[in-house]
Amino acid sequence: MTTQDLIPIIPELILVLAACLVLVVEPFLKVDKTANVAIALTALLASGVVAVGLAGREQAAFTNMIVLNEYAIFFKVLFAAAGALTVMMSPRYLEASGRHMGEYYALLLFAVVGMDVMAASRDLIAFYVGLELMAVSSYLLAGFLRYQVRSNEAAMKYFLTGAFASAITLYGISLVYGMTGATNYEQVGASLLASGDSLAVGLATALVLVGMGFKVSVAPFHMWTPDVYQGAPTPVAAFFSVGPKAAGFSAMLMVFLTVFEVSSPTWSVLFIVLAILTMFVGNAFALTQKNVKRMLAYSSIAHVGYLLAGLGALGRSGTDLVAGESILFYLAAYTFMNLGAFGILAYLKTQQPATFKYSLADFAGLGRRSPWAAVLMGLFMFSLTGMPGTAGFVGKLYLFSSVVKADLAWLAVIAVLFSAVSAYYYLRVIVYMFFREPEVEYATKEPISGPLAASLALSAVGVVVIGLLPAWVLDAAQSSFGNFFG
């Protein structure tokens, strides 16, 4: 290792140091945890800024374990943004839950470090430890409210399925190592290409796919998702729905395109089948939900389905990588709209800790009670549906058109049909907010906390800006993905 090797991981080093600082400062803070919130937020912003500043460098470090390139930087910035928005919406919520502790922010920072490593890794072992770092932190975040049975349930379910999924992924990786004697993506990929596709390679592909499918909640491996999102603290659920998913996709894109290049016919078919199943499960079950938090969990499964369709197209299209770019773009758009939607839930929960149960009925009359929250929620719902003018629309447009380009027009049609179905459950929330009278009287509302308001505002701005001016994010996605694999 040389000092040069440290440059690509400066964003992660900042986060790790900040996390340790949070842990050290925590015992000295009594009730007011502002200092730790500030440390975490500063670190995330600094890591994002440094990542942007590193743009343009191409460097491999730590004996080719990890690389710095625009692909990695795109995700590092995305994860830092997701982390920062989550940190901003957390303090008030945790105070209301009676468990505002600095360790929360440390765990969040560690999870972001793990995700960064996943996106930047060029080695199966580095990828796996990054995955585990993210996963272990996530289990703990899910169970953070340890006196609430639902939070315990979430942590337990997440841990059991997650550990199982990790084991399956690891089994696939071990098969690959056994066949090639290497763990580096390029070496493994070249070695597998040389030996050709075989049933064994297909088995390894399927095992890694299943393991990662658990992590990003692909049907039929999605069972844990609704329970975990519902039980976890709402800001954590927001983070789960975007962070680990984007990290999973960042790693899946890399692993399947480089390591399993030889078996791309196999995995593209698998992804297409799973995409249809996932879209169906996500949308069909979201339709029946009366609990908005749970509905958003199922809707996140549906969005994974759309992304999988993109992955399937990517396997089909060979050298044309437009599907990959559109996946990156969609992930960016999805991050803002989903964080925003969960942020509104967190805000409403802090307003009515006792009475707000995330059910649709609780949204009745929200348009009159807190018009700003209702308008923003409406914006996020529109965006999730894919209404023109929002980020969700542009994301779906690019994604589905790339699917069409890969000669999978029928798949795009299915995806659009499912999107139309999703309009029902997204718009139902809007109907409740603006056109239903509340059944019970709600107490007067407290002023919204500054960071939470900022988080919501930034999410909304992100949704609108990406929706109206998609070019700059698309450019970033194109240059990061195109440069890398082109």
């Binding site: 290792m1 990890i66 560690f110 470090v113 272990v136 953070f144 064994a200």
Partner: protein, 195 residues
Amino acid sequence: MAEKLLFIVFAAFAVAGALGVITRSNVVHGLILLVFTFINVAGIFLLTQAHFLAVIQILVYAGAILVLFAFVVMFLNLREFQQEEQFHRGQKWAVVVLAPVMLAEIVFVVTAVTWSSVGDGFTPEAIAAQGGNVMVLGEQLFTKMLLPFEIASLILLVGMVGAILLAAKEDGESVCLREWDDDDCVSASLVEREV
């Protein structure tokens, strides 16, 4: 020859032990057999000249992890598994399908896969020439595998933070006794006084 014989002995004991673990209804008997299985697996590692791995297998699995199992068993004072109603009785029949599939898969993986020659030329002779198992492994860990090694240390740190977070006793925190949501919450100190 002696190694083959020893391998058969270790392997047979390991399999027999593992079978015992899943067939005993007495938890502690299962636990002892699990320790026995792990030690035999360590024996197999020894036969492949992986001394360090063998010792770590005993230290970590047989020594550390299973002691925690033993603690749980003793705290709960489990004698025999109660014959509880199973939620999914049909699962019993899935075994008939899944077990042969699993067996076929393992046989396939072992026989059909063309295993690469040992990566980076780490044959037992080469390892011995470089100063033995521990030396070579340590060198790899701190040069080629430095980054994963350091990240693994972060995972352990997170685990430690999490253990304290989930288990440490605190005052003034709310405890939810009955409900599945955050109603009926009382402060932890109150519960301690009452119970």
